[in-house]
Each structure stands twice: as structure tokens, then as C-alpha cells.
């Protein structure tokens, strides 16, 4: 049996005495698709940040392809994991799309940030796969939120890791861009055999993506199972502390959810 892409063993985090993550353990196999779901503030995004070592100060053990996280330098870690942050940040990026994607080759660069042979092919491929070639020479701060999100995907692709950590990749995006981002994620999964870990609060998105689901509530793991099995009022109630209605989708054959209360206050 091969090593899992990511193995998390009783990861806990407290910030100023407040527990954010409590004893979370999980195994993400190579090439698997995982959704981490939960209510706002459940610790989903923080878990990703712990794995990427953006958030420090946690306890527990994490292994990346069998290697202890603690023994990897940040640069080595970035060769395994790529991270796409939540869209909609306030920062403005004056770089062009191509420059920004090129900067993602940092973990492989030589001294003085020197480019490596093959970089330009990797970058061109990433731009093509994320469908951002047409505005490759535009400045990032002139793009719409949806276009910018695709550029972040292109950069994560160019970074070359085989595990992708995506934080709410479709939040704040309109329907067309949501569909485009979903398509890119699937392409990645198929073409690269990449391991995908998506943080989302959208139950339907998790079920439509398929794969497995891990649910957090108040920083603790409360449920884990195949995405299809989410369509259950008790399970969803346990995870979100809310009630849901289930609706059958004739196209996918999935039972999708609508939150209770929708339409009730008309």
C-alpha cells in the first residue's frame, strides 16, 4: 500500500486560549477528492492553513507523502502542496497574469530566483488548462473576481505540487465562473491524478464534486464518509445545526439540499 498524500494525526490548535481545532485526524489518499465542510467558524480554513504552515503553533503530526511535515522546509512543502486562498481578498496585485503565474515556480527556482529549464512549458500549460491565456498579459488588478480566481488556479498548477488545497474556491463567484472552476478542478483530478482537498460550506458543491467528505463542527471532526451519504437530515443537522429540505436532481440522480427557511418568509 502506498503512502497517503496527507496524513493528519490529532491536530489541535488554540489561539489565545480558545480551541480552534480539536484533535483532528484524517488520511487523504493519493488521487482522492475530499471536501471539508462545516459551518462558518468551524475551523475548515484554519485546517488548510495549518497544513500549508501559514498558521503555526498547532500540535499533532502531519505527514506529506510519508514525510514528516516538521522535517520539510517551507520550500520543500511547497513542492508537494499548492494552496488557493479564498477569493475576494482586498489586496491589489499589480503583476501581469503571466508574471504572477511565473512567480509560482519559486519552490523550484535556482539561486537568485533563476528560472529552470522547462519552466516556460509548465507555465504555458497551466495558463491553458485554467483557461486564462487570453488575458495572460493583463494586470491582475484589472480582472474580475472570477477571472482572478482562475489565475490563482493557474498559479497553483504551475507550482507543480500534486496535492491541491482549495479554500472556498467558488465562494463569491457567479454561476458561470463556478461551473468553470469546477471544470478546472475536475481536469486537474483527471489529468494529473492530483489529490484535491476543498474547503466549502456548500453541501451541494461537496456532493456534486463527489469523493469523500470530512465535516468539522467547532473545530472537531464530527462526520466522515462518502459525499453521497451527506443527503440525510440528521447528518446535516448534526454538522450545521440547521434543518434542510432534500430535493431530487433528475440529471445527476443526487439528492441535493435546500436550507429550511428558504421561501418561508415570503
Amino acid at each position: 500500500m502506498s503512502e497517503p498524500a496527507l496524513e493528519i494525526e490529532s491536530l489541535s490548535l488554540a489561539i489565545r486560549g480558545q480551541a480552534i481545532l480539536r484533535d483532528v485526524s484524517a488520511r487523504f489518499g493519493v488521487g482522492e477528492t475530499w471536501s471539508i465542510i462545516g459551518a462558518n467558524g468551524a475551523g475548515k480554513s484554519t485546517l488548510l492553513k495549518c497544513l500549508m504552515r501559514i498558521q503555526n503553533g498547532w500540535t499533532g503530526r502531519v505527514r506529506v507523502h510519508g514525510q514528516e511535515l516538521a522535517c520539510l522546509s517551507q520550500r520543500e512543502l511547497a513542492r508537494h502542496l499548492a494552496y488557493v486562498p479564498q477569493p475576494g481578498g482586498e489586496q491589489r496585485f499589480p503583476f501581469t497574469v503571466r508574471e504572477f503565474v511565473r512567480m509560482a515556480r519559486y519552490p523550484w527556482a535556482g539561486p537568485f530566483g533563476a528560472a529552470q529549464p522547462g519552466d516556460s512549458e509548465v507555465i504555458a500549460h497551466a495558463l491553458r488548462l485554467a483557461e486564462v491565456e487570453e488575458f495572460a498579459e493583463r494586470s491582475l488588478d484589472t480582472l474580475s473576481g472570477g477571472e482572478r480566481q482562475k489565475v490563482f488556479f493557474a498559479a497553483a498548477l504551475a507550482q507543480g505540487g500534486n496535492v491541491l488545497l482549495l479554500d472556498e474556491p467558488t465562494a463569491f463567484l457567479d454561476y458561470r465562473h463556478q461551473a468553470e472552476v469546477a471544470k478546472i478542478i475536475h481536469a486537474l483530478h483527471r489529468e494529473r491524478g492530483a489529490t484535491i482537498v476543498v474547503v466549502t460550506h456548500d453541501v451541494n458543491a461537496a456532493m456534486l464534486m463527489g469523493g469523500a467528505v470530512l465535516a468539522l463542527r467547532d473545530g472537531a471532526l464530527v462526520w466522515s464518509g462518502p459525499a453521497r451519504a451527506l443527503a440525510c437530515e440528521q447528518t446535516l443537522g448534526l454538522i450545521f445545526g440547521a434543518t434542510f429540505r432534500l430535493l431530487d436532481d433528475p440529471v445527476t440522480g443526487l439528492r441535493l439540499v435546500a436550507p429550511q427557511g428558504a421561501g418561508e418568509y415570503r
Binding site: M52, I54, S73, A82, G89, R92, P94, F95, M103, P107
Partner: protein, 332 residues
């Protein structure tokens, strides 16, 4: 390649200002005084002992202050962040003021007591800002900027206190350390500053990729493999130290670190692989030109160059604030 053209132009312009500037001044220096020096000729003396060292110091200090500002703007993703806004200038001024008040006139290892005081003050200010952010275990940009502003205010009040209680002569000497000036004789000062500026520029040259990534965000930089905490500490301490050395010789020459990197960024773009050389050449030339104007404008009275740069710094600040956003490649 347009950016390459601009960098080349800056390099040539930089060299030209250094060559031309020593000939300009209250006392004319004809070309013959340099090419065919006669012993005891006043013009030759002025050129070699006063003008040329001063121009060299201006170039080195200008380049150092400009790249210092560039590094801090990338590090804090804030166009207003420079070593000066983070407390170095007020620290240096306070150190110098204390030295003046205590009467540390004597030179120590060839360095005047006031310079030592200025250096110590700069280091103290940096130490407080750095210590505060460490203490809070919170190295976010906002915390550091606020700590810098707080240190600036506190030190400024202490300087005012010292000035108010000082005698006339000391007050005037303290004033010289509040504005920054390049008045000095001989090559000691430029030689003292040069290794630190060269070291700072070399360090930045090895970290250009990291600066690019930090300038788009710390979390993103970390996810791309930058050891953010370590790089930030190294850059913060090294660049502050370099600026501290410059300030200990020239006093706080304001706004160079704010204006030069901005102008260069508008011309060659945000990529530090181009921005760093452009800023070095532009910063050097900028301070040489400013000092030349400052010492000739009201000749024979020489203005301290700090007054001159600050005079243009204020309107520049306003322009940053008011310019239309389509030119605004750097967010405020």
C-alpha cells in the same frame, strides 16, 4: 525591452549626475582645475576634498535610502512603509539630540559621538518596534506600522523636550539632526557608509523572488514556499541597520525612500528583478541632484538637503493620494 531601456537610461543618468554635479556650486570649478591640477589651486581643492566626496556620499546614501524604502514597501505591502515611517528617523534624531545634550563631541574610533548616538537611536527604535511585534506574537503589517508610528510620536516628543531645555547653540546642532544634511569634508563618510549599502543591495539581490511574492501577500508567499517569518526578520533588521548607518552620517534625509521606489515602480513595473537596479540608480541620482540644487539655490547659503527633499515629499504624498486609479498600480 522597455524596462531594460529605462534601467539603462537610469544607469547612464546616474553616472552623468555624479560626473557633472561636482562642477556645479557657489565657487566655479573649471574643467582645467581637474584635468591639469595645479598645487594649491582652490578650485582643485574644492573639487577633490569637498564636492566629489559629498557627491559620492549623496549617491551612496540616496541609493541606500531608496532600496530601503523599496524593501519595506514590499515587506509591508504599503506604499507608506519605509524605515523612516517605522521609527528609524526619529530614533536617529533622538540619539543625536541626546549626544548633543550630553556633550559627546569627541570622536570615537574616528566616528563622532553624535553619529554614534544617531546610530544607537536608530537601532533602539528598530529594536522597540521589532520587540513589540514579537511580544504580541503578531507580526502582521498593521501591528508593525502602528508600533512604528507610536515610536515616532514618542521619540518626537522627547526630542522636543531636549530641544526646549537646551541652550541656543545645542538647539541649532540638534536641528541639523532633524533635517539631514550632506555637509562634510573628505572621503571618510562615504567610505564608512559604502560597505553597508553594498551589503544591503547584495542581500536584496539574493531575495528578489521573495520580495515579489511577499509583495502580493504573506499567506500566498508562504504557500509558494517562502520562509516568511525568517525572511521578514532578516530583511527588517538588515535594512534597518543599513539605513541606521546612513542616517548616522547624513541625518534623516526624508522622503527619498518613499518617492524613489514609487517613481521607479511606475516606470519599470512591480517586478523586483527590474525594480531593484532601477531604484539603486534612480535613488543615487535623485539625492545627488537634490543636494546640488539645495546647495546652489540660495548660494552662498547652503540648504540642508533634507529640507529640500521633504519640501517635495509632502506634495508627492498628496499626489499618491489623489492620482487617478488607472495609474495607481500600487494600492494605498
Amino acid at each position: 525591452m522597455r524596462p531594460a531601456f529605462w534601467i539603462g537610461l537610469f544607469a547612464v543618468g546616474s553616472l552623468a549626475t555624479v560626473v557633472i554635479a561636482p562642477f556645479i556650486g557657489a565657487h566655479p570649478v573649471p574643467l582645467s582645475a581637474v584635468l591639469e591640477p595645479a598645487t594649491g589651486d582652490a578650485a582643485t581643492m574644492i573639487f577633490w576634498n569637498i564636492r566629489l566626496p559629498r557627491v559620492c556620499l549623496a549617491w551612496i546614501a540616496g541609493a541606500g535610502l531608496a532600496v530601503g524604502g523599496m524593501a519595506f514597501q514590499a515587506l509591508f505591502r504599503n506604499p507608506l512603509a519605509t524605515p523612516f515611517t517605522l521609527g528609524v528617523s526619529s530614533g536617529a534624531s533622538l540619539g543625536a539630540a541626546v549626544a548633543v545634550r550630553l556633550g559627546w563631541g569627541a570622536a570615537w574610533l574616528g566616528v563622532s559621538g553624535v553619529s554614534v548616538g544617531a546610530m544607537a537611536g536608530a537601532v533602539l527604535a528598530i529594536g522597540i518596534v521589532y520587540g513589540l511585534t514579537r511580544l504580541r506574537r503578531d507580526c502582521t503589517t498593521g501591528t508593525m506600522l502602528l508600533a512604528g508610528v507610536a515610536v515616532n510620536f514618542f521619540f518626537s516628543s522627547l526630542i522636543l523636550l531636549l530641544q526646549y531645555t537646551a541652550n541656543f547653540y545645542d538647539t541649532f546642532r540638534i536641528l541639523r539632526w532633524l533635517v539631514g544634511s550632506l555637509q562634510m569634508v573628505g572621503f571618510d563618510a562615504p567610505l564608512r557608509v559604502a560597505p553597508f549599502v553594498a551589503g544591503g543591495c547584495l542581500l536584496l539581490a539574493t531575495l528578489m523572488a521573495e520580495l515579489n511574492l511577499l509583495s502580493v501577500g504573506e499567506e500566498l508567499a508562504a504557500s509558494r514556499g517562502v520562509a516568511v517569518g525568517w525572511i521578514k526578520s532578516v530583511l527588517f533588521l538588515a535594512i534597518s541597520g543599513m539605513v541606521g548607518v546612513i542616517v548616522s552620517v547624513c541625518g534623516p534625509v526624508g522622503f527619498v525612500g518613499l518617492m524613489c521606489p514609487h517613481i521607479c515602480r511606475l516606470i519599470v513595473g512591480p517586478d523586483h528583478r527590474r525594480l531593484l537596479p532601477a531604484t539603486i540608480f534612480f535613488g543615487g541620482a535623485f539625492l545627488v541632484a537634490s543636494d546640488t540644487v539645495a546647495r546652489t539655490l540660495f548660494a552662498p547659503t547652503e540648504l540642508p538637503v533634507g529640507i529640500f527633499t521633504s519640501f517635495f515629499g509632502g506634495p508627492f504624498f498628496l499626489w499618491l493620494l489623489l492620482r487617478p486609479p488607472q495609474y495607481g498600480k500600487i494600492s494605498a
